[in-house]
């Protein structure tokens, strides 16, 4: 089948997509956007989180066909050209990135949180990110980064 999606503001088309391919597979293997990660492909880890019509979703749980005609933003779409989004900047600056495999999904989830709740409390941050597993950091620096990003966004 053929799938048409808007990805990071651009119209993209994928041909010869198999039944059963996920949006994650289409993004990574057919559209050349490997930023969204494939840690579990079971909807459990959040590494593949993307915006689907403005709402965070696990791309591994979305069938490619379900994405037809919809709007997708991946981690590759968070920065504006050379300018990183504050969330991206804070993750680097606060040491919230170690191996970085969880990072793209966490960035989308954290970006969404700060859009909805500009000044989140620690409990709100923890709840919003509870679906994103990270095996390296112990999360403390991720909390730092999200607090920092919220503060940065508030002044911009």
């Amino acid at each position: 089948m053929r799938v048409n999606v808007t990805v990071n503001g651009e119209h993209r088309r994928a041909d010869n997509v198999w039944e059963g391919e996920s949006l994650l597979y289409v993004l990574r293997e057919r559209l050349g956007l490997p930023g969204s990660k494939n840690a579990c492909e079971q909807g459990e880890c959040g590494s593949c989180t993307v915006y689907l019509d403005g709402v965070p979703a696990c791309a591994c749980l979305v069938a490619a066909g379900q994405a037809e005609g919809r709007d997708v933003v991946t981690v590759e779409g968070l920065a504006e050209g050379d300018d990183l989004d504050p969330v991206q900047e804070s993750f680097v600056e606060r040491g919230a990135v170690q191996c970085g495999f969880c990072t793209p999904g966490l960035l989308v989830a954290a970006h969404d949180l700060i859009e909805r709740v500009p000044d989140p409390s620690d409990v709100e941050i923890r709840e919003a990110l509870a679906g994103n597993l990270c095996r390296c950091t112990g999360y403390e620096k991720i909390l730092d980064a999200v607090r920092d990003a919220a503060a940065k966004k508030a002044v911009r």
Partner: protein, 763 residues
Amino acid sequence: MSAPARSPQELHDTIAGGIGESPLRPDGTLKVRGEFAYSSDLWHEDMLWGATLRSPHPHARIVRLDVSRALAQPGVHAVLTHEDVPGENVYGLKYQDTPALAADLVRYQGEPIAILAADHPEIARQALKEIVVEYDVLEPITDPERAAHDDTLPKLHPDGNLVRHQRIVKGDPAATADVVVSGVYEIGMQDQAFLGPESGLAVPAEDGGVDLYLATQWLHVDQRQTAKALGLPLEKVRLTLSGVGGAFGGREDLSMQIHSCMLALRTGRPVKMSYNRLESFFGHVHRHPAKMYYEHGATRDGKLVYVRAKMYFDGGAYASKTPVVVGNGTTLSVGPYNVLNAHIEGWGVYTNNPTCGAMRGLGAVQPTYAYESQMDKLASALDMDPAELRILNALSEGSTVVTGQVVDFPAPVAELVQRVRDLPLPPEPAAERDIRELPGGASNTTHGEGVVRGIGYGVTIKNISYAEGLDDYSTARVRLEVLGGEAVAMVHTAAAEVGQGLVTLQQQIARTELGLTRVSVHPADTSVGDAGSSSASRQTYVTGGAVRNACRAVADAVYALLGVPAEGMSLTGGKVVAADGEVVADLAELLGDTAIEETREFHHRQTYPLDPETGQGDAHVQYGFSAHRAVVDVDLDLGLVKVVQLDCAQDVGKAMNPDAVVAQIQGGSAQGLGLAVMEEILVKDGKVRNPSFTDYLIPTILDMPPMRVDVLERPDPHAPYGVRGVGEPPTISATPAIANAIRAATGLELPRVPIRPEHITGV
């Protein structure tokens, strides 16, 4: 054939910063942009997808294997079995006992039997189902204690079912004491659960060899094992490290290395293999579960008199790191404490359970849980404060450990316990509490009634680097040249960045040693000498040492070029500077078109094997120490645990990158928390019951409490820059601290981790 698209990038510095500072990771920006090439992101025009057929049985004989139907499927390009292994069908880290593809006997559920390559991963998966295997299913051996002692069991390997037995005898092994406590402790099978799947891309080369791009912890050991199985000389099997999504020991053993190369060589096309999560649970080794019998004797005033222990480590189907686990487990069995008399025995065995190998804290996690449980039991028998008991018995510089080795470097164990004890405690729970902060959280299972609080300690000792006589070294190549009018350095090693921050550290060392701001790190590959493994908390020590040595050789070459004696000279701010501060030359001008390149090794000081009878010997290079204090709330009715606070004090010798050190301690502590309260691969009759992130739980951001980290720096005079390995100790001491806190809260024995709700409620 060419390199893959999205191959590993050279990493340039983002922000200057030398040793002792905390510059940002050079790969951080790539990672947050989603542009960093992990092994599962590799892609090559024309590539095929590999897949693996695995045994559903933990123990079986293969009576028939027929791949013809699978090979006939459209889109399938090769189907290979043990008969197609070009070289020797056996590999292994210490013992060569693991077949690349099972030939006749299957020893664990998930053992690879056949591999194939197809146009699409789905075609590959479907084609696997067309492979016909007939098994003669056998009774699995699953009890490690029996496997150690019962000679009537079938032999899983030609030499029997014992991988290693080690005894340690110190002083009078039959000593007696006033106060005696004993216990039997068990630890479940933990998984590394790194997020980046096992994956790699093998590209056939024109010379008949193969280039493999992959995620691993040790390129050269993979190269040696893979080349042997492929029947190729080493130089024809070239490995390049791609982005690694965590490792924690789980990438020490081979997974897809030989398989992807076999398929690439057979089809003449690039082959990518990438495990999904289910396969990942079967495709890598886990932490050894253990059963440990401990007895501690002490005087009435709390001085340890003796320790006796027997410990059984379940190695599963193949040896992997079991010999080392037995070595570490026994030599570290009494912990960071002074004991005059000891009698310790450890067994590592083969069973039909999943193979166990390296995981963070190798061989020290198991005994630490046991002896720290014992220390609390002893404190309670003596009516002493648990922290005081530990301080009273703490090892210090000049102590002799149970193997007879003298600790000839700082060992601030008592201070670590004091410091972690002195960190502020969380406030006492208020009458009205936010339910989200209680055990059970937002599921609203309690409003604070039935919830009790407990505090517990855990302290550990872990050997750094490889032990027992291994010459465990690293190599670095450093190139100095002028680019764009500025002197710049390039560091090239084969050391694996697995997320811990080694690339940052290499830059920091080169900047400091060469007095430069611009330093880049070449992708790690096998075109430079061996760097050993990114494990055993050793890379900062050995690769850090190698980079230092190579930089110093480069500096010496600069002085030689200038014709001045090296004595008193230094490189600072891009200049050659004499002892009196006078600028002797500008580096960029001096070098012009000349590039200086030097390659050096770093070998740590020698260690020695243990005496097989007495277990005496200077087996270890260095020890790391850490102490945790945990505060927990436990819902007694439901058995739910909430870790309220987890604090750590650790000595790191020298904090090369203080922020990264703290980050390692936080991440390691989270894995220790996981083992204490949730993480276990459930194995029944040799079969894994929970191979998914739905059922194998790792801590989320809701499970991790706030952490205070207190970092001590007591330089080790024998180590480069005084460093002490950092990565492992925090994982080890976190688990018993939490277990002890839960015991303090509940008054229960809790002789097994992970501690599950039913252990607390008793139903």
